[in-house]
Amino acid sequence: MSPDVQQLLSRVAAAKTDNNEADALIADYMPFIKAETARFLNRQPEPEDDELSIAMLGFYEAIRSYSRLRGAFLKYAATNIKHRLIDWYRREKRNRGQISLNTADEDQNELIDTVADTHDEFEERGVRDATRQEIAELAAQMEEFGVSMSDIADNSPKQGRTLAACQKTIQYARQHPDVLTEFLRTKRVPLAKLAEGAGVERKTLERHRQYLVAVLLICTNGYEILRGHIMQVLRGGSQ
């Protein structure tokens, strides 16, 4: 095995657990990703093309799911990118018959100018900035707990009954502010108290501890926009 391949494999193994290393690896192999995208599109991809983003997602997915039993990493990544692009292509087929709002007519007037705009862009921009700020604060507070957004995405419950158990726990925590106070003070999730109070298995809560950290932080003061986004959850389940 050549040193380059060996180094690549070591970087891939590191990128599995480290998000920064994964970003670095994707950045280093961007030419490879562009080449695979061009092979699919039969043209050079533009930076604003969605296909390039899909290809990068495919490369990241290959990093996470790669094992030596699958053979060479680059070949495996190329196959994964191709599959992703094919899925994206099939998905976008339903939008084929639609035209862009930026299509210009004979008088060089774009179609979007003729459509009434009911959105308040200024307001939306303000909300977006506030949301961004809350998210930044949340990320900073989560870092104190040793949790990142990527970790939460990996740790988030996938099954419905697991999600229901976690939501039940959050409801219990909201109804008992002392639990939240203890949580903020100790920088640790009181799993035993939550499991006993919510009537949920502690093992389930331990399995999704990082997720609980994020959601419990959202439930504390200062995250109204985020709380509003998940209000359905905070109200006790889907309605």
Binding site: S53, M56, L57, L226, H229
Partner: protein, 487 residues
């Protein structure tokens, strides 16, 4: 439509939070943090789980296919390649056809002769009727058969329907060729003729195929030929072979000899071919595999039995199959006849060469006092058989002579009281009190005979009497004159 809040953006992906507070990784389609999207390209779950699941499913599917194929293969083998019945065509050459469950011939074995028939069968299943038809045709072409000849066929099968079907087909095929078919059944897991011989086993020829459950071995249908003027041998006669009446080289008598089963001895009568000038019925035999024993049996039985079975004439063709094949017919040795009426009784010869299964134990000594399996013979309390006595020189095949039978009445002697010492010897080594024995039995040589174990109460003649007790009355262990102990 669910809304997703963009929480974090990376080079290759973005972290979104949906309205159910789930966090997802998705493609970063130029998102900005805080943006709300509705149709993201979410990153699928861990493909490792999917790969393992797919691998397990593939293995399970392959195993299921393998089981299915194996089951079909086994079923096909059991149906088409396993012999369930056998049809044996008896002619100059014996053809054994093994049939599968469908009635097709899967294998033909010949004891010799024409190979043309066998060449036809190279694994292609054919019906028994067509196979027999071809065999008979070839035999006619080779001048082995002529119009009007009778062909003997033995069908061995456990299925009555199979037998009936085969029988009707064979008879039809034979009729087409102007031949007569004598179809016999040796079914219901019964034994074929050569398996039921009562004669001592000589050098038995190895059959074409060993006998297996579900299959059968072609055997010789030894049919008795009635000697003119003599009654035929009837089954159940308990025919035994007298000594010195063998044709081939019979083996030494086994350690234990048994009373031949009368039901099994009858079919072993040799099927000889008399040189009959008339051709009204040409009985074709195949004196091959196990004829010698049956021939011997029938011949000897015919000799010793007063008005007994007819002695079949010697068949020159039989010489072909004798070991050594010196070509000469060994006439049955005449048994030296004595004036002893006991000699009229059928002697106990070596048991007929039964088709013993491997591991089958030879039958042990059989008490003959009251005539086990000899209902017609007069009861002789002194008629006792001893195990093989190596001391006595015997002719090959000759059974040990029975002790001289006194002129005792046919009825059982009165049963004396059973002495206690017979069951519980008072002193170790002390013989039970012997009963009074006839004087004829008190011979010096009797004392040298090997004592039998006390399991079976010995006849008075078997009791080893010490000289001082010779005068005692022999004890009769029978509890009743009418009820001899049953085997």
């Amino acid at each position: 439509m669910m809304k997703y809040l963009v929480m974090e953006c990376h080079t290759g992906y973005a972290v979104l939070m949906d309205e159910e507070s789930r966090f997802h990784k998705a493609a970063n389609l130029h998102y900005t943090v805080g943006q709300t999207v509705t149709d993201p390209v979410l990153l699928t779950e861990d493909r490792g789980i999917t790969v393992r699941r797919n691998t397990i499913m593939k293995i399970a599917a392959a195993a299921a296919c393998l089981l299915m194929v194996s089951g079909l293969g086994i079923r096909y083998y059991l149906t088409h390649r396993t012999a369930e019945s056998v049809v044996v065509v008896i002619e100059e050459t014996q053809y054994e056809m093994q049939l599968n469950r469908s009635g097709d011939v899967i294998r033909v074995v010949s004891s010799g002769g024409s190979q043309a028939v066998l060449e036809e069968y190279n694994g292609k299943p054919r019906s028994a009727a067509s196979a027999v038809n071809e065999i008979l045709k070839i035999q006619k072409e080779e001048k082995e058969l002529e119009d009007g000849d009778t062909v003997e066929v033995i069908i061995k099968t456990d299925s009555e329907s199979t037998y009936e079907t085969c029988k009707s087909d064979l008879e039809q095929e034979a009729a087409k060729l102007h031949l007569n078919a004598d179809v016999q059944e040796r079914g219901r897991a019964g034994k074929l003729p050569h398996e039921t011989t009562t004669e001592t086993e000589t050098e038995r020829p190895v059959p074409a195929e060993p006998e297996k459950p579900g299959s059968a071995v072609g055997t010789v249908n030894a049919k008795e030929h009635v000697k003119p003027g003599e009654p035929p041998v009837t089954p159940g006669s308990g025919i035994v072979n007298p000594p010195g009446t063998d044709i081939a080289e019979p083996p030494a008598p086994p350690a234990g000899h048994t009373v031949p089963n009368p039901e099994l001895t009858a079919p072993n009568v040799p099927h000889t071919m008399p040189e009959h000038p008339a051709k009204t019925e040409k009985r074709i035999t195949a004196p091959g595999w196990s004829d010698r024993e049956s021939i011997t049996t029938t011949t000897e039985a015919a000799q010793i039995r007063p008005g007994g079975p007819a002695e079949p004439p010697a068949d020159p063709k039989r010489n072909e199959f004798r070991p050594g094949g010196d070509g000469g017919i060994v006439p049955p040795a005449e048994e030296p006849r004595t004036e002893d009426p006991a000699d009229l009784l059928p002697r106990e010869e070596e048991p007929a060469p039964k088709h013993e299964e491997p591991g089958q134990k030879p039958e042990g000594p059989v008490w003959r006092g009251a005539g086990w399996n000899q209902p017609e013979a007069p009861v002789k309390p002194e008629d006792a058989e001893k195990p093989a006595e190596p001391e006595k020189p015997e002719e090959p095949g000759q059974m040990p002579e029975c002790p001289e039978q006194p002129e005792a009445p046919a009825q059982m002697p009165e049963e004396p009281e059973k002495p206690e010492s017979l069951t519980l010897p008072e002193e170790p080594g002390q013989l039970p009190a012997a009963t009074e024995r006839p004087e004829d039995l008190n011979k010096p040589e009797d004392l040298n005979r090997i004592e039998e174990p006390a399991l079976f109460p010995a006849e008075p003649d078997e009791v080893r009497l010490l000289p001082e007790k010779a005068a005692e009355k022999p004890h009769n262990f029978y509890m009743s004159e009418k009820e001899p102990p049953k085997p």
